[in-house]
Amino acid sequence: MAKFMAKKKPSKQKPAPRVPMHRAAAQPMREQPTSPVFGSFEVKSGLAQMLKGGVIMDVVNSAQARIAEDAGACAVMALERVPSDIRKEGGVARMSDPTMIKDIISAVSIPVMAKCRIGHFAEAQILQALNVDFIDESEVLTPADEQFHINKHNFTVPFVCGARNLGEALRRIHEGAAMMRTKGEAGTGNIVEAVRHIRSINSSIASLANKRNIEYANLAKEMRVPYELVITTAKLGRLPVVNFAAGGIATPADASLCMQLGCDGVFVGSGIFKSSDPERRAEAIVNAVANYADANVLASVSEGLGEPMHSLDIKDIPPNQRLSHRGV
């Protein structure tokens, strides 16, 4: 008996250090060949990690892109119409004209993202050929496929996708998304939907703690994702890729709210260039995200920003016109 009671001898070998990352491939990188490997998941999700703590702004031309860069945006999203105009004008919203995307790429030194329709892999191939840095497979554009999203593993350029809940987020990650964002309700200037989505994902992840294996297996079945992905998420206690807030952010306080709820950064769509003073508002939102927990900084950057964008109450939008219901 004493043999079993004896203290375990401390081993001389130090244990391996904690793995310094929080993403799906949470193992140390596999040993790499000595020649470069392009477009691996590590490299794709790596760019998303570098965007953390930053603001990604929707821009429709190179002049706006420069304003965004000068204000301190960590990336820009090139598109022909911002969500609030898409909502107003209706019709089919598609990928932007390549000329305009190329213009923006040559105008700025920060990463340039562009949107393609859900399931429209041909648009995504075109965007990859244009050398955009990130593709947003976005519900803001009219979906092209009601059954399948793009198989994002087939691309060397990383993808970001929207989600309303944990199931949607894990399905997109399983399809190869290197970054997630909340869907919110784009083009409304109303933060309530984004908050609902952040809260939903946070509480689902919190409820993953301390379950039995069979429960994880059931959840995986319910969410239609692999068991391993559910386990990874439960162990990390957060989504296995970077997660930004999007859809309805109009003020520095909105941005701070999302950051304090645990998002890694924010997308601002119509909120900047549909407001009365885009330069100041852009800068204020960048400052608010970097200093999101400092109420004194938030108070000073929120001063005198002029009129925010024209905003909508969600109740006034008929359910069939809500963008967040697209592509689940």
Binding site: P20, M29, F38, L47, Q128, A290
Partner: protein
């Protein structure tokens, strides 16, 4: 030892974890301090500037009035955007971009091109073999006399170290914080 991590924009969370892992491996007591305002710079033994967007980090450093405080810190480690912030010469900067200009190296921003040219590879370095991810990475195209190269990729320097008086600067164009503790261990031991 108090090591600050500049937490304005970029992969600062990864740097915090890697720094703690490196301190654990070295058996050195180490406190990681998130640095968001100039008051947080007081009493630091070292500072890490993470990867991110150098335009954004530069802007926020100036807006938060942190530039003067940072130049007094005895040792600074910059990866990717952090290396750009440290460099005295920067090619491909936007007009009016702000830098710290502390280390006698020249860098070129986005030297490999867009994200589709980003890559990872096994890299031989003076500190050992590491898995290195180059993400919209810069290159080091000039080194002052006192700067020592620590790693090469195809003849180009991708990691360098400089001692100026009692100050130490370490710059990597790739992201050791994503895959190895070796560079953080080297950084923690600097000046000891």
């Amino acid at each position: 030892m108090r090591i600050g991590i500049l937490c304005l924009q970029g992969d600062f969370a990864e740097h915090s974890q890697t720094t703690l892992a490196a301190a654990y491996r070295l058996n050195t007591p180490c406190t990681v301090v998130p640095v968001r305002a100039k008051e947080h710079l007081e009493g630091l033994d070292g500072l890490i500037i993470p990867g991110g967007e150098s335009t954004t980090i530069g802007k926020l450093l100036v807006r938060n009035g942190m530039v003067a405080g940072i130049s007094k810190i005895p040792k600074i480690f910059g990866t990717c955007a952090g290396a750009i912030m440290l460099a005295k010469r920067v090619e491909g900067a936007i007009p009016g971009q702000h830098f710290l200009s502390l280390m006698d190296i020249g860098v070129k921003r986005n030297a490999y091109g867009s994200q589709s040219s980003s890559f990872q590879m096994r890299l031989k370095t003076e500190l050992g073999d590491v898995d290195a991810a180059f993400i919209r990475a810069p290159t080091i195209n000039f080194m002052g006399q006192n700067v020592k190269p620590l790693a090469y990729k195809d003849g180009e320097v991708v990691a360098a170290y400089e001692q100026v008086g009692d100050k130490h600067y370490l710059a990597c164009t790739f992201h050791p914080e994503l895959s190895t503790t070796l560079f953080h261990e080297f950084f923690l031991l600097l000046g000891k």
